[in-house]
């Protein structure tokens, strides 16, 4: 889902970078305000954790494999603002060190995976947890959405840029990530339940 440079047209690039600047700026500001210095090392190591967790692959049908994105999990552990900062940092490192995602497309990637995948889906989770009274269902659905909606946003950006025809790119991304999302949901639910059982004070919820 990491868009490389060159795949977005200039207007889309400007728009997504502006959107990312505003949303990530807001999250960084909020997170710095709420954060006591005690939490800084924890947050830093959590960032490394999300990065490492993305290396845990699980197989999907047909020889492909997906990996955890961890956006919702980060938000569940640290809250939406800090969760978004964590995802943003992970994306910056991936762009600068691993060439995974472009530098001028960074805004789009932050928007898709940090803002939609972490920040927005955290509030979806809160809302679902309130109306369904079932935490597991809420975690599962919002984890699935965090992958699916991110992929749809990515597909729309590519289509708007004229890189690929709308129907094709949306169909391809949606079908692949609907499956990856199931994996993400299972992983997030299992990790969340595991942490809640073994170390309840760690989970913010």
């Amino acid at each position: 889902m990491h868009i490389p440079d060159g795949f977005l047209s200039n207007p889309v690039m400007v728009a997504t970078n502006a959107a990312a600047l505003v949303t990530a700026g807001f999250a960084v500001k909020k997170a710095s305000e709420d954060l006591d210095e005690r939490k800084i090392p924890l947050m830093g190591v959590t960032t490394a954790f999300v990065f490492a967790a993305q290396m845990l692959n699980f197989p999907i049908v047909g020889g492909t494999s997906g990996h955890v994105l961890g956006g919702l999990l980060a938000a569940l552990l640290l809250g939406p603002n800090a969760g978004m900062v964590v995802m943003t940092v992970v994306l910056i490192v991936q762009a600068l060190l691993f060439n995974d995602g472009g530098i001028l497309a960074l805004g789009a990637n932050i928007f898709n995976m940090a803002f939609i995948g972490s920040w927005c889906c955290y509030w979806v989770y809160r809302w679902l947890a309130k109306i369904s009274r079932n935490e597991t269902v809420a975690v599962a659905v919002s984890a699935w959405l965090s992958v699916f909606l991110g992929a749809i946003a990515c597909a729309l950006e590519l289509a708007l840029s004229g890189t690929a025809p709308l129907v094709v790119v949306v169909a391809a991304m949606a079908s692949i990530h609907a499956v990856i999302g199931i994996g993400e949901a299972l992983v997030t639910v299992a990790a969340f339940a595991f942490l809640k059982r073994t170390k309840p004070e760690l989970v913010r919820g």
């Binding site: 440079d5 090392p41 190591v45």
Partner: protein, 232 residues
Amino acid sequence: MLDFFQPPQSRLTKLDSRTKLLMFLAYAFAVLSTKPQMHIAWMALAILLATMFFAARIPIGWALKRFVPILPFIGLGAVGLFFSGSRETFVQVTVKAVLCVGAAIWLSATTPFNQLLEGLRRLKVPTLLTTMLSFMFRYLFVLAEEAIRMARAYQSRCPRKQTLKDAANTGKLAGALMLRTYDRAERIYIAMLSRGFDGEFRTISVQHMTFADFALLFAFAGLLVLIVVAFR
């Protein structure tokens, strides 16, 4: 895993990281500002990039490995081409992506990450972000190796594929990794406190923008503008 990050040493390593960061950004901007028919400009930009690689003494194999992440997107573009997309768009997107990723590879090959971080800090990126970046980089390898070790232990005990169970177990592995991470973070925090940490990193700067930095930066930017304007 570490060899992936071991950049080759060259004279470019000694330049200020801001110079290289800005050169990289300028190059990416130049590539993205080209129009679909500017084949000669692409050639010139590619030759420029090749020269940069040569000056930095980057081994070809080391660089090629790092092109892998963009392959799925080129594949997606090819699928689009197969259905209805125009060939011109596909060629343009592929060329631009390869050139930009090439420039990013050049940046990571010439600039050690701690220098890059200092450059970002000096370019006024918010403190919280740079602090997170430096923490992350410091523990990345430790945790990634831990993750790989856990994955290998899991595979050797559950070699058969069972998609749903695998995903759920991956969740438990992630949880266990998180616990180890948390314990480590607590120990680190106490150790840092005892050494007088108060929430901010204070680093000694070893980098300065010298005359050579400015000269290279301006020459490079001038060359890029020349290429983009002359071959339009």
